[in-house]
Amino acid sequence: MVSGSAQAGAAASQRRRQYAKIAQTFGPFVALIALIVVFTIVNHHFFSIGNLFNILRQVSVLLILATGATFVILMGSIDLSVGAIVTLVGLLGAWVARKFGLPWILVMPVVGIVCGYINGWLFAYAKLPSFLVTLGTQFAIIGTASYIVHGHPIALQVTAHPIINNFFVGDYIGPIPNIILWAMVVYVICILAGRYTRFGRFMFAIGSGEKVAELSGVPVRRFKLYGFIVAGLLAAIGGLLLTFRIQSGAPGMGDPYLLTAIAAAVIGGTPLSGGIGGPSRTIIGVLIIGVLQNGMIVANINPFLQIIIQGVVVIIAVALTLDRAKIHLVK
């Protein structure tokens, strides 16, 4: 005998589940709108076409890096070397451009692939925790970059090859600055890869149940390696765009991107525990961070306070998204 109240309870729990799911799906979106509204009220210049494009330009690099980070986080791993790869690509790219000519900077994605390969190999085949591996390679990569250029920033000499420069940052296609366009192109490719390819599904599967994936015939180690290679490649592409945007390679140029890339992925809805979310959601996280950074400047908040707020936002995002049922012990 199931009483009427129990049935009502069942319906209520079903509803709660649905609400939770809706909150999970649309929460980040609502947060983004709320931020925009608040900053617009504080300073109506915030919501001007000029500033909105400004935000998009600012987040273009982050979008690419965060998408790369998303694949790694989907697997339940983490890549702390994202910012370091950006710095390496910037410094090495500018150095190569000066030494051999600007077109040589276009080989930088290979550098990203190599870095990703090293990360992935150490993680998947040498079976070291990804946290530790990438913490280590982060230093090694930054060290390598500084070693090559002796720690000095190098200006990008673009005058001989305006076409390449314009391709990345100079031109507008329609009203949209190139850098935004390229970021979107890369991003859309990543969404499609996440949704429509075996690679993408395997990233989800490794995060959701590595053992189950292995027992279904997935070459888990190989795909873990691929995941890190993709993250490395995307970090290099992001680094390349950044180098053209600031027209130089500078030590520490990638540092701010480490936390924000991971945060954007998590805020968007790919929890650190992996297995759910995906690249299609990362753009919301990227926009939240972009709006927050830009809005706090527009709202004239103390710059040190801005850093505190960013840190707090990251912790809140992790707390809201992490699937605690999956992580029995947090160590």
Partner: protein, 510 residues
């Protein structure tokens, strides 16, 4: 029957969870010197009763009496203080601390002086207790994980007595929540002997899925069904497992349950041949053949190697010698991708750990084996086909789910198991290895799974059935191979009209 106030009594307990009335007006009692068995299908309310008694959950209404006094424990610790102890399904001992520390965990205060806890007094007391219960071979100062599963289970029971004594409780109430789930034959007998010996010093409430055990262990039995007491049995001696089963589910067991009339007598070509297969140290020199439409059962106690045979054939465990022949093609060292490519599937015994992507939807779970198999799908996914196939299997296998996009985690055990099976059917198999395919599945879903297995054999699929449930093995299989200590010890024909009894198989197993 009843003299005075029983030591443990619950009256009119009700408890509902969202969507389920877990307990509806349940009353029962237990007294010193008796082992009281609680049986019922999954979800009948056995664990809920224990939860309510030991304070880990609060009842909606109803009362619990201990020693004639009404109690309302707010936590497990309070229940301990009141003399109620529970032996949990999953062991509740901390593995990396010493045995004596575990025995008195969270009650160290009784051994303290000036706020300092005495190690020596705890160790001494632990040694005395172990000797008292006939386990003086256990060294209380050793780390707990130095002892095997069954010893630790015994330690849990000793712990209950140890704490009772420390707390000054004369007769502890001990709730045994499936204490035998992880134990093999002889260990179960050992535990049983211990419970029988100690029942005169305690009140024992015993919950198990294994009906034979409940019959053997209990002096009185309560049969639970849909959150209510369906039967209270005081005379266990004249009860058979069949009676108990009938009371639990209200349907006749036997041939009909296992669809024995559908067992195939005419078999086709050999599908899977195994010769001299060895996987040290789990099993040696195993040879057999399974043909189209045949179900070959594997029986054996835990550690007999039967489970590893399935893993080794599927490529999930190492093969040190011998070969697997699939439709004439010899494979020396099977790997999972080779096997899935050739249409071999494996349903693992533990679906949460090895069978399901818990954060995935039903759809993604069903499609996974197929899309992970390069021979059956390309690097680019065909999402339309994926959904169509998932819908098809949800309908065909009657998976009860709100939609194919529901997270598989929220389905019941039986439906989750159907999803695991559907994954292999979606791949398209001609040989399926099932390791305890109905573990933790309720009787209704079991029957549906049996139907499905029969349907597969009708279509010529060869099935290797590895199971701890002997009746299931006997009921379903054409032949049952018995394993012992990694060796194949006997092969028993089980034709539909002349099935061997459990006892006959057990003889070979132990």
């Amino acid at each position: 029957m009843r003299v005075g106030q029983p030591l443990l009594e619950v009256r009119n307990l009700c408890k509902s969870y969202p969507g389920v009335q877990a307990l509806n007006d349940v009353s029962l009692y237990a007294d010193k010197g008796q082992v009281v068995g609680l049986v019922g299908e999954n979800g009948a309310g056995k664990s809920t009763i224990l939860n309510l008694i030991c304070g880990t959950q609060a009842a909606d209404s109803g009362e619990v009496f201990v020693g004639g006094n009404k109690v309302g424990f707010g936590s497990y610790h309070e229940a301990n203080l009141g003399g109620v102890f529970r032996i949990f399904q999953e062991l509740a001992l901390v593995p990396n601390i010493a045995v004596y520390e575990n025995l008195f965990l969270s009650h160290e205060a009784h051994f303290s002086r000036y706020q300092l806890v005495s190690h020596k007094r705890r160790i001494d007391r632990a040694r005395e207790l172990l000797a008292e219960f006939g386990h003086s071979h256990i060294d209380p100062t050793k780390s707990t994980d130095a002892y095997d599963f069954s010893s630790r289970q015994v330690l849990e029971i000793i712990k209950a007595f140890a704490l009772a004594e420390v707390l000054g409780i004369e007769t502890p109430i001990i709730l045994l929540d499936e204490p035998t789930a992880g134990l093999a034959g002889e260990e179960i007998d050992f535990l049983k002997a211990m419970v029988q010996e100690l029942k005169h010093r305690a009140v024992m409430v015993f919950v198990s899925h294994r009906l034979t055990e409940v019959l053997e262990w209990s002096d009185r039995i309560y049969v639970l069904k849909d959150g209510q007491v369906a039967a209270e049995i005081n005379d266990v001696a004249h009860l058979s497992e069949g009676d108990l089963h009938k009371a639990m589910v209200g349907r006749v067991r036997e041939e009909q349950f296992y669809r024995e009339q559908r067992q195939r007598t005419e078999l086709g070509e050999p599908v899977l041949q195994v010769s001299g297969l060895t996987s040290a140290p789990y099993f040696q020199d195993v040879s057999f053949t399974v043909s189209e439409g045949e179900i070959l059962g594997f029986a054996g106690v835990l550690g007999s190697g039967k489970s590893h045979i399935g893993r080794a054939i599927f490529g999930a465990a190492n093969v040190s010698d011998g070969e697997v022949i699939l439709r004439g093609e010899t494979i020396k060292h099977p790997t999972i991708d080779q096997m899935t490519k050739r249409g071999v599937g494996w349903v693992p015994p533990d679906r949460h750990d090895e069978g399901l992507f818990l954060s995935f939807s039903v759809c993604w779970n069903i499609s996974f084996a197929r899309l992970a198999c390069p021979a059956k799908s390309s690097s680019f996914l065909h999402l339309g086909f994926e959904q169509k196939q998932a819908r098809e299997f949800v309908a065909r296998m009657r998976v009860k789910t709100p939609s194919i996009w529901t997270q598989v985690d929220s389905l019941s055990g039986g439906n989750q198991q159907k999803v695991v099976l559907a994954r292999w059917l979606a791949l398209g198999v001609n040989c399926l290895i099932l390791d305890n395919p109905t573990r933790g599945v309720d009787a209704g879903a079991k029957e549906e799974i049996y139907d499905l297995i029969r349907e597969l054999t009708d279509r010529g699929v060869a099935i290797v059935l590895i199971s701890d449930d002997l009746l299931e093995l006997i009921g379903l299989s054409n032949r049952v191979i018995v394993m012992k200590d990694g060796l194949l010890v006997s092969e028993n024909a089980t034709p539909p009209d002349n099935k061997p009894t459990e006892a006959e198989l057990v003889q070979a197993m132990v």
